[in-house]
Point group: C2
Chain length 167, copies 2
């Protein structure tokens, strides 16, 4: 057997998105039980110039949909208008549905493909495998961990098992 | 070309460790310039039951040295005695030196190998690729992001480019 691009992109990203979805369920339930304003969490940040929880969740899905560039399919367009836990969960669901359309065949050989990566007004070229391993995957986990950490910092009782999606 | 285990484990982990090393340089320099007690950062946490910065850095290297299980070589033993930025940087350097001994040949085919993963007193068996993609890589980036976030939360002026190791 060899390693497929699907195994190192679509598969782990789907797992991470599912974990994030479950974590948001717990966060939402906690705001209801404790009568906490959902925005106290949704707009929370770890530093004044870091993203809010809402923006972190959006960023996780942004990285996941970057798989489109590897697959050579259209990258789904999102509006960044989410304001509630349910809307963020819908965005995650829509991203998982997109990933489900990216079959192993579609990313086959993408490791060698030259990818145009938008960087501000310019774009740089990267090999598929480097794009995934140096940019997309680190960024995916960065925003996933930041979302988790904002909630932990604010007192939500979740743990590493939630992050890893272990039941 | 096909994807090698080395490309999705040793290579990105080395890049992440180098980024972390540079981030610790900036943190150390900041404590010196501003006459901050280094322990104000080294013992900082994002939540009372999350790891300190010191422990997060140790955990990043712990995940990186898990590559030993994929390569079928001895996992380097560490003492977890680091108390300063310099000692943490030495631990990172030692981990990078270990990763440099793990040539692409040593992890070839590891995606299919059955790995014994210690889990408390028991151990579970996982396929090499799943061990990497579901446990080691997510954990590696989790602790790397947590270390970064602790420093950002405490006011260190670093950004995503530092996290990604872009110069």
């Amino acid at each position: 057997m060899t390693i497929s691009m699907h195994q190192v992109s679509v598969a782990p990203f789907k797992a991470g998105l599912k974990s994030l979805d479950s974590i948001l369920d717990k966060a939402k339930a906690w705001t209801e039980t404790r009568k906490i304003d959902p925005n106290a969490l949704l707009l929370a940040r770890l530093a004044p110039d870091m993203y809010t929880l809402t923006r972190q969740v959006q960023a996780v899905t942004d990285q996941a949909r970057n798989v489109a560039r590897l697959a050579g399919v259209e990258r789904p367009a999102y509006d960044d208008t989410e304001k509630t836990f349910d809307e963020l969960k819908q965005r995650i669901a829509k991203t998982i549905a997109f990933l489900d359309t990216v079959t192993p065949e579609k990313t086959q050989g993408a490791e060698d493909k030259t990818i145009d990566v938008p960087l501000g007004k310019e774009s740089i070229q990267m090999k598929g495998i480097d794009y995934l391993e140096r940019l997309v995957a680190p960024n995916f986990y960065f925003h996933l961990t930041a979302a988790y950490s904002i909630l932990r910092h604010n007192g939500l009782e979740i743990g590493k098992r939630d992050f890893l999606g272990m039941r």
